[in-house]
C-alpha cells in the first residue's frame, strides 16, 4: 500500500539526513522505525505525509505518487488518506473530545449526524465513550492519546503515521495506548508507520526498521 523509493533529504549541505530510503508497508501492517535522536525518524514521517519536500525520491500510496509541488493537493490528500498520532496529543482545547475526534470528518464534509455517529464509534473502540462531552484538559495523558488515536482513525485513512505516540506516557498508559493503536490499525486495515525510540513500543509492531546513517535497515 505504501511505497517509498529513494527518499533523500538534507537540511545542511554537508550533512544529509536521509540518503536513499526505501520502505514498503502493506495494508494492515504496522512498521516501527527506531533510531538515535536526530537520525531523521520524524523527518521521514513528515516526508511520507507530504508535509515536507524531499530532495529526491518518491512516495506512493495505493500506487499513486505524491506531487510535492502542490501544497493544496497534499493537504487534500492528507485529509482523506492519512491519520496522525502525535507525541504531544495536540487535541484542540476548546473542542469537546467528541468534536476533536470528529474533526477529520468535518474537514471531509461529513454531515453532523454522520460525524457524531462515527466519532462515537471511534471513541467506543478506544474505551472513551463516556469522555465524549468532556474537554481535553480534563483527561489524563493516556486518555488524551487514546482520543488522538480515535481522531487518527475515525475517517478510515489508508495510512496511519504515529510520531512517538508513547513519548509522554508512563509504562502503563503506554502499553494501553499501543494496544489501542494496534487494534485500531488492524481493524481499519490501514498501513501504519510508527517512529519511536522506545524498544518497548517497537516490540509491539509487526516489523522493526532502524534508521541509521540516512538509510533504513531491518533492526
Amino acid at each position: 500500500m505504501l511505497q517509498v523509493r529513494g527518499l533523500a533529504k538534507r537540511f545542511e549541505p554537508a550533512t544529509p539526513l536521509l540518503e536513499s530510503v526505501d520502505l514498503d508497508v502493506a495494508a494492515g501492517e504496522w512498521v516501527a522505525v527506531v533510531g538515535e535522536s536526530g537520525s531523521g525518524k520524524s523527518t521521514l514521517l513528515h516526508l511520507v505525509a507530504g508535509l515536507d519536500r524531499p530532495d529526491r525520491g518518491e512516495v506512493r500510496l495505493d500506487g499513486r505518487a505524491l506531487d510535492f509541488r502542490d501544497d493544496d493537493a497534499l493537504a487534500l490528500w492528507r485529509r482523506s488518506h492519512v491519520g496522525f498520532v502525535f507525541q504531544a496529543f495536540h487535541l484542540l482545547p476548546y473542542l469537546s473530545v467528541a468534536d476533536n475526534v470528529a474533526l477529520p470528518l468535518a474537514l471531509l464534509g461529513a454531515s453532523r449526524a454522520d460525524r457524531a455517529r462515527r466519532a462515537a464509534a471511534a471513541l467506543e473502540a478506544v474505551g472513551l465513550a463516556l469522555a465524549a462531552p468532556r474537554l481535553p484538559g480534563s483527561l489524563s495523558g493516556g486518555e488524551m492519546q487514546r482520543a488522538a488515536i480515535a481522531r487518527a482513525l475515525v475517517h478510515a485513512p489508508r495510512l496511519v503515521l504515529a510520531d512517538e505516540p508513547t513519548g509522554n506516557l508512563d509504562a502503563g498508559n503506554a502499553a494501553t495506548v499501543l494496544e489501542c493503536l494496534r487494534d485500531a490499525v488492524k481493524r481499519a486495515g490501514a498501513a501504519a508507520v510508527m517512529v519511536t525510540h522506545s524498544p518497548f513500543a517497537a516490540a509491539r509492531a509487526d516489523r522493526v526498521l532502524r534508521l541509521s546513517a540516512g538509510m533504513l535497515q531491518a533492526a
Binding site: L51, D71, A88, L107
Partner: protein
C-alpha cells in the same frame, strides 16, 4: 530575581507591550490635551478679567443695555470706597459686518487709579497720550485687537452704532494689555454718545479703602443698587465663564477618559495573555515558595510599569498636542465657549491626576489578573494544560444584572453642582455590566454555532464561544468603544433632528435683518422699524430685542428676549402648556427649560424680574425649549417690554415677505428705505438654519475625534490580542494543517473568528450604547444643558458602525494570523516550538 522576571516579561513581549503603551499613551494624551486646552482658556479669561479689573475689589454689573449712571455717584460717595471707575462695555460690530470687537468706554483719569494698563505709559500719564485718550473719536487698541484688525496708529476703526457707522482714529496700541484679548478703549462720553448709552453705564469697578471688610462692603453697596444691578467680586468673568462652560468641559473630559479606559482594556488583555502564557513559570515560582501576595505584587508591578510608561508618554504627547492646537486653532474646541487666543497654561495637578488614572487603570487590571492567578492550582499550572487564566469564581451573570439594576436609582439622582454625576454613574455601571457579560453572552449567542455545518465556521465559533480570558478583555475594549460611539451617534442624531425641528419652528420668518454682523451695538430705531413694515414688499415684521437680566446668586445672567408673541410663534418653541394664557392684567412670560431648572420656576407661578431697574412681577405662562442657550432665557411680549422700559429699539427684524416677493427684492427695498444704514446684514431663514446646523456639527467635531480615537484603540486592542492568540496557536494551526487544512482554510477560519468576535463585541456594544444614549439624552443632557430632546435612531449609521467593526476585526484577525500560519506545519507542532 524581580528584575530578572520583569526583564523576561519585557523581552518576550516587546511588540505587544509597545502597542499597549502606545494605546495608554493615546488615551492619556487625549484626556490631557482636552483638559489643558480648556484650562489654558479659562486661565486666559481669568487673567484678562484680572487685568481689566486692575486693582479693583468689586465690580458692579447690570443689564446688557446698561443702568442709570447716577448709581455711580451714589457708590463713589460711600465712605468705604477709595476709588470708583465707571465703564461702558459694548460688544460692537465692525462696519463691514465681518466681526465684532469689545469696546470699553472709560474715564481715563479715574481708570489710571484702578487699571494702570489702560494708559500707554505711567510715565506719560500727564502727557499728551492721556490727553489723546480723552479725545473724542480716538481709540486705543490692545495688541491682539491691533493684530486681528490690522490697524496701527492713524488707522480708522469703523463700528456699527444703531444703523449708522461711527469712525474712530487709532491713537495707538496699549502694550501692557497683551493678555486681555481683543479690546478697544475710548472715552466714556464718546461710548455713551456713539452707542446710544447716554446716561447709562455697563459696569463700575470699585476699590475699597484699606481695612474695609470686602464682604460687608459688597453687601452694603448691593443694598443701594437698583433691581437687576449686582455687586460681585472683581474679575468675576473668569468664574462665570468657568460655570457656564463646566458641563461642556466635564462631558468632554468624560469622553476622553472613556478613550483612556478603552486603552486600559488593552493593557488588561496584554497582561492577561502574558500571565496565561507564563502559567507554568508562575506555578513553578509558587512551588518554589513565592507567596500569593508576592505573586500579586509582581504582577501589580508589571501593570504599574506599563501604565507609568504609557502615562508619561501620553502626558508629553498631550502637552505637545495642546500647545500645537492652541497655537494653530485656539482654545475653541467647537462649542464656542472660548474665542480669544490663549497661551498654553496647563493645570499640572489635573495632568498628574490623568496620568495617575492611567497608571491606576493598568495597576487595577494587573490586580484583577493577580486575583485570578492566586486561585491557580499549582499542580495544574505545572502541567500547563490550559493556555488561559483560571475563570473567576464569581458568577458573571448575577453581577452583570446587579450592575444593570444599580443604574436605575443612579438615574434618579439630582445633579450635583449642575453635573449629572448620577447619570455618569449609571453609564459606568451599565458599561461594566456589558463588559462582565461578554463571556456568558458569547456562550449564549454562539451556542447555535454547534449546529453549523461548515467545519471552518464550526471551529471559528467554537474558539470564540470559549473565548480565552485575554481575548475577552480585548472584546470588552470593543464593547466599550462601540457602546460609546453608538451612544454618541444616537445622542447627536437625536439632538440634530430635535434642533432641526426646533429651528424650523423658531426661525419661521422669510428674512432676518440686523444692523452689524454681531455684537450689541447695532439696533434699529422705532422709526426705522416702521419704515420697513410699511414697505409693500413686506407682509409683516417681528422686532426682536435682547437684554440680560442679572439675578442675585446666579453665575450667569438670564437672557431676555422681547418679541411679539402669538400662538403660531410659540408653537415653534414647543411650549408646555401649549395653550396661550387667558387675557388678564398679568404680564405673561415664557421661560426656557434652563431657567426652570436653574431658578426653580414653574408654569403658573408669579416671579419677579429686574427690568429697567425695577422689580416687575410677571406670571410664567409656560416653559419653552431653547437650544441656543444653556443658561436661562425669558421671552417677554414686545409690547410689555416697551411699556415697562420705554425702549423701542430692536436688535433684529424677523421679516415676512408679501406674496410673490423674493428675498433679494425685499432686501433692496429695505436698503432703499434706510439709506443711512450702513452695515445692515440680511439672512434668509434657510441660510440661518443651515448656518446654525453647521455650528452644531462643528461643535461636535472634537467629540467625533475622541470617538474615533476610542474605536481605534479598541480595534488595536483586539487586533493585538488576535495576533498574540494566533502566535500562541501556531501548534494548533500546524495540527490542522496535518489534518488536511490548507493555509488559506486556516486564514479563512481566522477571518470567521475575527468576524464573530467583532460581531459579538459590536452587538453587545450597540445594545449597551442604545441604553446609554437614553441616559445621555434624558438625564445627562437635561441636567448639564437643560434641554429636552426627542429620541431618534440613526439606523444607517449604527448599521455602518456594526459593519465597520466586524470588517475591521475580520481583517485584523486575518492580518495578525498570517505570520503564525506562514510557519511550516512541521515546525509548528514540534514540542519545543
Amino acid at each position: 530575581m524581580l528584575r530578572m522576571l520583569l526583564a523576561g516579561m519585557l523581552a518576550a513581549n516587546r511588540l505587544r507591550l509597545a502597542l499597549t503603551v502606545a494605546c495608554i499613551a493615546l488615551g492619556v494624551a487625549l484626556a490631557g490635551a482636552v483638559h489643558s486646552i480648556h484650562s489654558s482658556a479659562l486661565a486666559e479669561i481669568d487673567r484678562a478679567a484680572h487685568m481689566l479689573s486692575g486693582t479693583a475689589d468689586l465690580e458692579i454689573r447690570g443689564p446688557r443695555g446698561g443702568f442709570d449712571e447716577r448709581v455711580f455717584l451714589e457708590v463713589a460717595r460711600r465712605p468705604e470706597v477709595a476709588a470708583a471707575n465707571p465703564i461702558v462695555d459694548v460688544d460692537a460690530a465692525l462696519a463691514d459686518a465681518s466681526a465684532h470687537v469689545r469696546v470699553l468706554g472709560i474715564d481715563p483719569l479715574r481708570a489710571v487709579r484702578l487699571q494702570p494698563a489702560f494708559v500707554a505709559d505711567e510715565g506719560r500719564t500727564g502727557g499728551s497720550d492721556a490727553a489723546r485718550l480723552m479725545d473724542l473719536r480716538h481709540v486705543w487698541l490692545s495688541p491682539a485687537a491691533a493684530t486681528r484688525l490690522r490697524l496701527r496708529e492713524g488707522g480708522k476703526l469703523r463700528l456699527v452704532a444703531g444703523t449708522a457707522t461711527v469712525e474712530l482714529t487709532v491713537a495707538g496700541v496699549l502694550p501692557r494689555m497683551d493678555t486681555v484679548g481683543d479690546l478697544a478703549l475710548i472715552d466714556i462720553a464718546e461710548a455713551q454718545a456713539a452707542f446710544g448709552r447716554l446716561g447709562l453705564l455697563s459696569r463700575i469697578d470699585v476699590r475699597l479703602r484699606p481695612g474695609v471688610d470686602a464682604r460687608r462692603a459688597r453687601s452694603d453697596i448691593a443694598s443701594i443698587l437698583p433691581r437687576g444691578v449686582l455687586a460681585s467680586e472683581a474679575a468675576s468673568t473668569g468664574p462665570r465663564a468657568e460655570a457656564i462652560s463646566r458641563a461642556y468641559r466635564v462631558n468632554l473630559d468624560a469622553l476622553a477618559l472613556v478613550a483612556l479606559a478603552t486603552g486600559a482594556f488593552l493593557a488588561f488583555s496584554t497582561l492577561a495573555l502574558h500571565a496565561a502564557r507564563r502559567r507554568q513559570e508562575l506555578a513553578l515560582l509558587r512551588a518554589l515558595g513565592l507567596t500569593r501576595r508576592g505573586l500579586a505584587a509582581l504582577l501589580a508591578l508589571e501593570g504599574a510599569l506599563l501604565g507609568a510608561a504609557g502615562s508619561v508618554a501620553g502626558t508629553v504627547l498631550g502637552v505637545f498636542a495642546a500647545r500645537t492646537l492652541l497655537k494653530r486653532i485656539g482654545p475653541d474646541l467647537g462649542a464656542g465657549y472660548f474665542s480669544d487666543a490663549a497661551p498654553f497654561e496647563p493645570n499640572m495637578l489635573a495632568l498628574a491626576a490623568i496620568a495617575a488614572i492611567g497608571v491606576g487603570m493598568c495597576a487595577a487590571a494587573a490586580w484583577w489578573i493577580a486575583r485570578a492567578l492566586q486561585r491557580m492550582d499549582i499542580a495544574e499550572g505545572l502541567r500547563d494544560r490550559s493556555a488561559d487564566l483560571p475563570r473567576s469564581s464569581a458568577p458573571a451573570v448575577p453581577i452583570a444584572i446587579a450592575l444593570f439594576l444599580l443604574g436605575f436609582p443612579l438615574l434618579l439622582m439630582p445633579p450635583a453642582g449642575e453635573l449629572p454625576l448620577g447619570g455618569y454613574g449609571a453609564i459606568g455601571a451599565w458599561l461594566l455590566a456589558a463588559v462582565i457579560a461578554v463571556g456568558p453572552l458569547a456562550r449564549a449567542l454562539l451556542a447555535r454555532g454547534e449546529r453549523v455545518e461548515s467545519p471552518l465556521a464550526f471551529l471559528a465559533l467554537s474558539q470564540v464561544r470559549q473565548l480565552p480570558g485575554h481575548l475577552a478583555a480585548s472584546v470588552a475594549g470593543i464593547v466599550v468603544s462601540a457602546a460609546l460611539c453608538a451612544a454618541m451617534a444616537i445622542m447627536v442624531f437625536s439632538f440634530r433632528v430635535s434642533l432641526e425641528d426646533w429651528l424650523a419652528g423658531v426661525v419661521s420668518a422669510d428674512l432676518y435683518v440686523r444692523s452689524g454682523g454681531g455684537g450689541e451695538s447695532g439696533f434699529l430705531t422705532l422709526e426705522e422699524q416702521r419704515r420697513v413694515a410699511a414697505l409693500p414688499e413686506i407682509a409683516a415684521i417681528e422686532p426682536l430685542r435682547y437684554e440680560r437680566l442679572a439675578l442675585a446668586g446666579q453665575a450667569a445672567p438670564l437672557s431676555l428676549v422681547a418679541r411679539p408673541v402669538s400662538a403660531r410663534i410659540l408653537r415653534g418653541f414647543h411650549p408646555r402648556p401649549a395653550e396661550m394664557p387667558a387675557d388678564s392684567n398679568d404680564v405673561h412670560v415664557w421661560i426656557s427649560e434652563a431657567a426652570r431648572d436653574l431658578e426653580g420656576w414653574r408654569a403658573g407661578e408669579r416671579v419677579t424680574l429686574p427690568i429697567a431697574g425695577k422689580d416687575v412681577r410677571v406670571r410664567v405662562a409656560g416653559v419653552i425649549r431653547d437650544y441656543a442657550r444653556t443658561w436661562g432665557a425669558v421671552i417677554l411680549p414686545l409690547d410689555d417690554y416697551r411699556r415697562l422700559t420705554g425702549d423701542t429699539r430692536a436688535h433684529d427684524l424677523a421679516v415676512h415677505l408679501a406674496r410673490g416677493v423674493d428675498a433679494k427684492a425685499a432686501e433692496d427695498a429695505i436698503r432703499r428705505a434706510l439709506p443711512g444704514a450702513q452695515g445692515l446684514v440680511f439672512e434668509e431663514s434657510g441660510e440661518l438654519r443651515r448656518r446654525s446646523l453647521e455650528i452644531f456639527d462643528r461643535s461636535f467635531a472634537v467629540t467625533y475625534a475622541l470617538e474615533a480615537a476610542a474605536i481605534a484603540i479598541g480595534l488595536a486592542g483586539v487586533t493585538s490580542s488576535f495576533a498574540a492568540l494566533a502566535w500562541s496557536r501556531r501548534r494548533e494551526f500546524g495540527v490542522l494543517r496535518f489534518l488536511g487544512m490548507r493555509r488559506r482554510d486556516v486564514l479563512r477560519m481566522l477571518v470567521l473568528e475575527g468576524a464573530a468576535t467583532g460581531t459579538l463585541g459590536a452587538l453587545i456594544g450597540l445594545v449597551a450604547g442604545a441604553a446609554i444614549s437614553v441616559v445621555l439624552v434624558q438625564v445627562v443632557n437635561r441636567q448639564s444643558f437643560h434641554w429636552t430632546l426627542e429620541m431618534h435612531w440613526p439606523v444607517g449609521t449604527l448599521a455602518a458602525l456594526l459593519a465597520a467593526i466586524v470588517a475591521l476585526c475580520a481583517f485584523g484577525a486575518r492580518a495578525s494570523g498570517a505570520l503564525a500560519v506562514r510557519a511550516e506545519a512541521v515546525s509548528a507542532v514540534k514540542d519545543d516550538a
